[in-house]
Assembly symmetry: C2
Homo-oligomer: 527 residues x 2
């Protein structure tokens, strides 16, 4: 380090070496922080100290190092060491995190709550984004906060609606909670990323084409293009991988390494294919993850299955921890202007309101069509509302907005998002245990609920009550149609997709993620 | 892609997206080439077509795509897509390859041939580098080839002396060859990388300080600083990791992911620590690999052991294949000036001579002290001489020399090195099978040899012959002292290091890499 400081003038022949040395020190620092985070997280977990989950610990380590760097006035040096390229974030850190969230989805609870999850993720996120956007715009109009144009408010609304469940879910798992609640929280947060990105991109392109007249129809088309296009490309790559592994017969010989190499390359292929087509790689890799887990995974040899699970878990843990450290570091290093404080304060209030609008209205709709014994209870709705942490996805989109929006606007959004991420992770993450206990959703026999649900699954039980105005029952009929679509998707999967894309032919192939889903995802305590 | 072409002028608001899209297409292309290489390699291997090993196939794919890109005149576009940063190469591709080569070293045959390997790798590489350097300098003086200053000739000699055994060894494995020959070729090529880097760096710093008077003593100190310093830091990190895993007791609980995360971070830590200290990260990570395999590995839980082996194997396969593809691509894209042809031609002749000087003189020295039944037979010497492919390491150092040397010189060295890599990989890689059969070293009972060797291992058998001039027996005495040092190192390891750094206490802990070494390293056919 001494020598780095000594060579201030760019020496003609050795800048390469010095640069490499600086990069080395930067990465060394990062690795040390990673190691520290893992160890600290482990120690806290071991002592059942749920007020500081691992993500919060990583954030705090980042904050601490960033603060120290600030005080010691080596800021510029550390910044170059940290050398955090946005490209690196989007091409290397985010894909594994998103893929893993799709890949770790347990098929059974996910598909049995498919209708509700899709309602929360698609319709609910839409509501949340619009509500947040409108409130922020109104806040600007009434001089409560920094004034942004309406489209930018909607962009902010979209990006801040992407929730990150990692902390909440790891605590859910450890305390043991209802399977359906778990599936709802997890499924919603996974899919709402896709929705938030698509909304954000649509709004972003609306903003840049603002001169050429905004056709509402075109906006819809653009949104569908991003969302459906990315989803299809992801699902397509997933299906191709399933067929490849089904017919290449790599599992009969000892081709473990070749199998793993190919399996590991597919998610990336999906991501890059979508990006290359101008679609959203994140949305694509998410669906590739879901499809690969559901179909391709079962075509692997047993060794490779074990390896692939561990591999993606490892990579995503590293990436996730790194992202949290970086966010903490960044918020400590940033130049804070006090004008942001008001924006941050009101934004937090608004996103709480927006999340309530999302969860309770969607739950109302879902409950309309669900039979009495399967309604989402109020305590689950509250837990779902509470679980709206913001994480890597919101951060990533805010990072993007800095480049896309005019100087001050992007910076405001970025600062606000970073602050919201830090606050929600620390506060909500730290209080989830207490919340779950208050709501009495801890450890109640989830297997019973799952079972009692299963009985009603295949044959849809008609609701035993008939009431409400005609408009409501009209809505209800439509919702029930949708519900039937979701159910028939499960049938389609069982009868056609699974036999076609996997080598298993027995009926219980869906079971591999069923009751054992707790050991399949998250935490350091699974295998 | 259409849209990429459409936006030629840098649009004010969307360059970020476009750049990301271009990067996406580039990486997509790279992934496709990777997949193609793996599949092609697999097919060739399956049909036992040894004339085109996997590395050669990857090289050819790179050459092909590069050639196509050249013809279709989209060169500039593809170049930006390919976006190959040197930093990426040094920080992300090279470390896993080098770590894996240390990590996959089977301790037993390596340590039993320790003296011979060190002789070939340290002394032999030194000879080879000096001989190549002098010959290239003489070639320049006699107008046979482009004239380089003497120090630069030595730099070229050093970098071109780093051999890459990956292709040869995978064929050795498949055909089944003598364990001791395998250990010699593998061990030498692993350690000679470290030697070549240290020599290269020393020469490089001699060159840049050429004004301040070259003190021979200082050069030696500098070399020792790089080599011994990097080695110590690598070994130190390895030992720390061994102690951590021994006492953290991560293997008793189900902490598989935490264990793996930490295990995976250590090599990187070692690499970056050395780089940060201004030492050689490559040398450091290599020794960390050897130490971690020998000590830390046995402190892991069984699951993590399996995972770690697969993980590093996977990562290094990907990196290695990618490096070969890139080298092929690069040589096809490069602007070739015909002045290099002469340099390439004579360089090849010179490195063949230098390798002969290395192998046969070192073998002579080794045979002086070895008992009659353990002498390195001539056919093994020939095989060792023949196995001197040049690969990623030489390429990486040549890439560095482009920045360090004056325009024309660095370019000449880089072109020559790339050409030598391609030629040796294609020619030597393709003919290794034939060579091994000609030399009759294929499939002779290697287990027997290992056993017969083992008998003489602990108690050193004095040579049964006494002849030669006094100077020769003087040399012999010294060599025998050295041989005893190597033997006593094995004792030290057995009695002190292994009990201290691992949790195993029984005597046969060295056995885990012994007879099963074939399944431990390389190829797609293990596990």
């Amino acid at each position: 380090m001494n020598s780095t400081a000594a060579v201030v003038s760019p020496a003609a022949d050795a800048p390469q070496g010095k640069e490499q040395q600086a990069a080395g020190v930067g990465i060394l620092l990062q690795i040390s922080m990673l190691v520290l985070s893992f160890v600290l997280g482990h120690v806290l977990r071991r002592h059942r100290f749920y007020y500081l989950p691992e993500a919060s610990a990583s954030l705090l380590i980042g904050l601490l190092v960033g603060g120290l760097a600030n005080i010691s006035n080596t800021e510029a040096n550390i910044r170059t060491w940290f050398n955090f390229h946005e490209e690196f974030f989007f091409l290397f850190l985010l894909p594994p995190i998103i893929f893993q969230s799709g890949f770790s989805l347990s098929p059974k609870p996910f598909f049995s709550n498919f209708g509700a999850i899709v309602t929360f993720a698609i319709f609910g996120t839409f509501i949340a984004a619009i509500v947040t956007g409108i409130l922020v715009y109104l806040g600007g109009l009434t001089f409560l906060m920094y004034k942004l144009p309406f489209v930018e408010c909607l962009m902010f609304g979209a990006l801040i609606s992407a929730t990150d469940p990692v902390t909440v879910l790891s605590i859910f798992q450890e305390l043991g909670t209802d399977v359906n609640l778990y599936a709802l929280v997890f499924g919603e947060s996974v899919l709402n990323d896709a929705m938030a990105i698509s909304l954000y991109r649509t709004m972003s392109s609306v903003r840049s084409n603002t001169s050429s007249g905004q056709n509402f129809f075109l906006i819809i088309v653009q949104f569908l293009e991003t969302f459906v296009g990315s989803m299809s490309s992801g699902v397509g790559v997933g299906f191709i991988s399933a067929l490849l592994f089904k017919y290449a017969a790599l599992d009969i010989e000892n081709l473990h390494n070749l199998e793993s190499c190919l399996f590991v390359l597919f998610p990336y292929f999906s991501y890059m294919l979508a990006e290359g087509l101008g679609l959203s790689g994140i949305v694509s890799i998410l669906f590739t993850g879901i499809v690969m887990k559901h179909y391709t995974y079962s075509n692997l040899s047993e060794n490779s299955q074990r390896f692939a699970s561990s591999f993606f878990h490892l990579i995503s843990s590293l990436a996730e921890t790194f992202v949290f450290i970086y966010m903490g570091f960044d918020i400590a290093m940033e130049e804070h202007s006090w004008s942001h404080i008001g924006f941050i304060f009101f934004s937090i209030i608004f996103i709480v309101i927006a999340r309530a609008a999302n969860v309770f209205s969607c739950a109302y709709l879902v409950n309309l069509v669900r039979p009495v014994n399967r309604k989402i209870p109020m305590k689950h709705q509250k837990a779902l509302w509470y679980s709206g942490l913001r994480g890597a996805m919101a951060f990533a989109l805010a990072l993007q907005s800095v480049h896309e929006l005019p100087e001050g606007h992007g910076k405001t959004i970025f600062s606000t998002t970073t602050a919201i991420v830090v606050l929600t992770v620390l506060l909500i993450g730290g209080s989830t245990g207490t919340m779950l206990e208050r709501l009495e959703v801890v450890g109640d026999g989830h297997n019973n609920e799952l079972l009692s649900y299963e009985e009603h699954h295949d044959g849809y039980v008609a609701p035993t009550y008939e009431e409400g105005a005609s408009s409501e029952s009209n809505l209800k009929t439509k919702l029930m149609e949708f519900h039937k679509t979701a159910t028939s998707f499960t049938e389609l999967d069982k009868n056609y997709l699974t036999p076609f894309f996997t080598s298993q032919t027995d009926d219980d192939d869906l079971d591999f993620g069923g009751s054992s889903h707790q050991s399949r995802r998250g935490g350091f305590y699974d295998l």
